[in-house]
């Protein structure tokens, strides 16, 4: 599995070249959210709004009204927590084409509770007019922008930065409101988002060898949530449905799936892997994923549970998969936020 670095940084510059209406706003985190290249390439289209997120959101609404398409980049928490009212009233209500790139989803940062966007989907899903996307790999990141720009209204994107895996073929772009089918199967239906898809793929690879038949879908459009493939998938498993997300189990992917199941009287059992309605704390992503049960092993346990089978997979088996893919991460380097 290839690992890619700073995909958005380069992609945005290339993509925005002939789109003068696309402007970028920074909330004083330029280097941390991969927009330094854009700033240097198109200084006239780059706006520093400082550390004042309320103003930044409303200001974006103002410029969007005048025909620009502001691409806001900051840590996710600073897009939906501090300026939620402004996002709701200055952007979402008037249905303006403002694009919100929120970095550090869930527990991908050691920055602790103030920097971990563990409930962003939950907060934002009830807001009318807003479209919500989440990326899981380099191909998602690279092919996202046309999808985003095609939406007539505001879009929130749960974004990844830095070193990210390529899980999907480069010529298979992210498609709006359409999940990626990663495997077909009849025992378990597994729906995953964001960084959990990589973990899930690691597990399913080993699980398949153990004879389990898994229908695995990678979801990137969280709102709207009306993909018929998902509905078909949740109807068919023998043992049940599992969702896996780097987010609290309340209000995110698992909840959207639950709504779909209940509305359609799908009498399967749903198990939601995610943060169990508890704040986390600052530590490495690997540590937190393990501690809070968001990793490949957690999925194995959930499947054991659901199937009442003893599955002979150890951390080592999974680590073998992990090793191959994460070779390029340098563990010794302290990351700035």
């Amino acid at each position: 599995m290839e690992r890619c670095s700073r995909v958005h940084a380069r992609n945005l510059v290339r993509w925005a070249k002939d789109k003068p209406e696309v402007i970028v706003f920074s909330g004083d985190l330029t280097g941390s959210v991969e927009i330094a290249e854009f700033r240097d390439a198109y200084p006239d289209r780059f706006f520093s709004l400082g550390m004042a997120e309320q103003n930044m959101l409303s200001w974006a609404g103002g410029m969007a009204r005048e025909g620009f398409t502001p691409f806001l980049h900051t840590f996710a928490v600073f897009l939906y927590r501090r300026p939620y009212d402004q996002l709701a009233m200055s952007v979402a209500y008037p249905n303006l084409p403002v694009r919100l790139f929120g970095f550090l989803p869930g527990i991908t940062t050691p920055g602790g509770v103030t920097h971990q966007a563990i409930e962003d989907i939950s907060v934002l899903r009830g807001l009318p007019n807003l479209t919500i996307l989440e990326v899981g790999d380099a191909t998602d990141v690279e092919t996202l922008l046309d999808v985003v720009q095609g939406v007539n209204g505001p879009v929130y994107i749960r974004m990844l930065r830095g070193d990210i895996p390529r899980l999907f073929p480069q010529d298979a772009p992210l498609v709006f409101n359409r999940a990626r089918v990663l495997s077909e199967g009849t025992d378990i239906t597994l729906l995953s988002t964001g960084i959990c898809t990589e973990e899930a793929m690691r597990a399913t690879q080993v699980l398949r060898e153990q004879g389990l038949s898994i229908q695995h879908l990678h979801v990137s459009t969280l709102k709207p949530f009306s993909d018929s493939q998902v509905l078909e998938a949740v109807k068919k498993p023998r043992y049940g449905v599992i969702t896996m997300e780097n987010h609290t189990v309340i209000g995110g992917l698992g909840t959207a799936v639950a709504e779909m199941m209940a509305e359609n009287a799908v009498g399967k059992v749903l198990r939601r892997i995610g943060l169990k309605d508890k704040f986390a704390h600052g530590s490495s992503k690997q540590y937190l994923m393990k501690k809070y049960g968001l990793d490949a092993m957690a999925l194995v346990h959930e499947i054991e549970n659901l199937t009442s089978k003893n599955i002979a997979i150890s951390e080592d088996d999974l680590a073998a998969v992990r090793l191959e893919t994460q070779a390029s991460i340098s563990a010794s380097q302290l990351e700035a936020l």
């Binding site: 620009f68 009212d85 209500y93």
Partner: protein, 310 residues
């Protein structure tokens, strides 16, 4: 220190503005009596501000909207465009000014001003706060005269900043006027906005603030003090001048104090009982006015205003 006392000879526009100010008060009082309560004091404090802006200061095109507002068609994202209420202020083209209303509960005063300036039919005001009408009690961007949805206070100046910056980038000559209430100065967002206006040197932004010294719970100084407003604004990089908010000449002259590279704030000190002396004794509880035992007195006063007004 009202205009009447300055001894200056009124020229044509001042007479028009004063008549319109009187009309704003008169129409709002009538509605207050008819509906058994309204945001009357806001019309009283802001009448000259709105009349002067519409009569002498703003450079606006003819209204593009139907004189009688049609029923609400929907909300943005569902077949309706954002900001349609601004059609009452004319075309949003390069040379024209924009007029953005921040304190949405002043809606009745805005609607009355539109009637006074011939931009809306009096029948529009009759729709005030009726079911399915755009003429809402708390204006939103489909409401006549409103370009933004600002009932959650303190968001208009930031949006004005975005609009003004876009216009600067495009080299438009039209200015961006904002009308604010003083209570909004308590919101932190207001200060983020002023800071950013100054940072981007947006001297195409002019903000008129109705400093009526009151908010819902009483006097601003007792609820959460905001003075000295001018010093606060100057510290944040704006030009701030204080004027008598009932003096049409002073209100019109204020824009001449605009400094290059800075947003201008015109602090209009006003009286929330101006023009209806019987309300003086109710101060500071004038945020929402309902006549009870004094309704007859108010009716009589309205009759006298009507005589003077028509």
């Amino acid at each position: 220190m009202h205009a009447a006392n300055t001894g200056q000879q009124d020229t044509a526009w001042q007479n028009v503005a004063k008549t319109r100010a009187h009309g704003i008060r008169r129409r709002t009082l009538a509605l207050t009596l008819e509906r058994n309560g309204c945001y009357l004091s806001q019309a009283l404090s802001s009448a000259e501000i709105l009349a002067t802006l519409y009569t002498q200061v703003l450079n606006l095109g003819e209204s593009l909207a139907p004189a009688v507002p049609p029923p609400l068609k929907g909300v943005p994202g569902h077949g309706v465009h954002f900001g349609e209420g601004a059609d009452y202020n004319g075309a949003r083209t390069a040379d024209y000014d924009r007029f953005l209303i921040s304190p949405a509960h002043y809606a009745v005063a805005i609607y009355a001003a539109l009637v006074e300036t011939g931009r809306m039919d009096p029948a529009g005001l009759e729709q005030f706060n009726t079911d399915g009408s755009t003429v809402e009690m708390i204006g939103a961007e489909h409401s006549p005269g409103f370009e933004l949805t600002t009932g959650s206070f303190g968001q208009a100046v930031s949006q004005a900043g975005g609009i003004a910056l876009a216009r600067k980038v495009r080299g438009e000559s039209g200015r961006v006027f904002v009308f604010m209430s003083d209570g909004e100065l308590e919101e932190g967002q207001t200060w983020e906005a002023v800071q950013a206006l100054a940072f981007y040197k947006l001297d195409n932004v002019i903000v008129y603030v109705d400093v009526n010294g009151q908010q819902v719970d009483g006097l601003t100084k007792d609820v959460m003090n905001i003075e000295p407003i001018d010093a606060r604004l100057e510290g944040f990089g704006a030009t701030a001048i204080k004027v008598d908010g009932h003096d049409v000449d002073a209100l019109a002259d204020a824009i001449n104090h605009k400094e290059a590279g800075k947003p201008l704030f015109v602090l209009c000190y006003t009286n929330s009982a101006e023009g209806i002396p019987m309300l003086e004794t109710r101060k500071p509880h004038l945020h929402f006015v309902r006549f009870k035992t004094d309704a007859e007195l108010a009716e009589a006063f309205l009759a006298s205003m009507n005589q003077k007004g028509s």
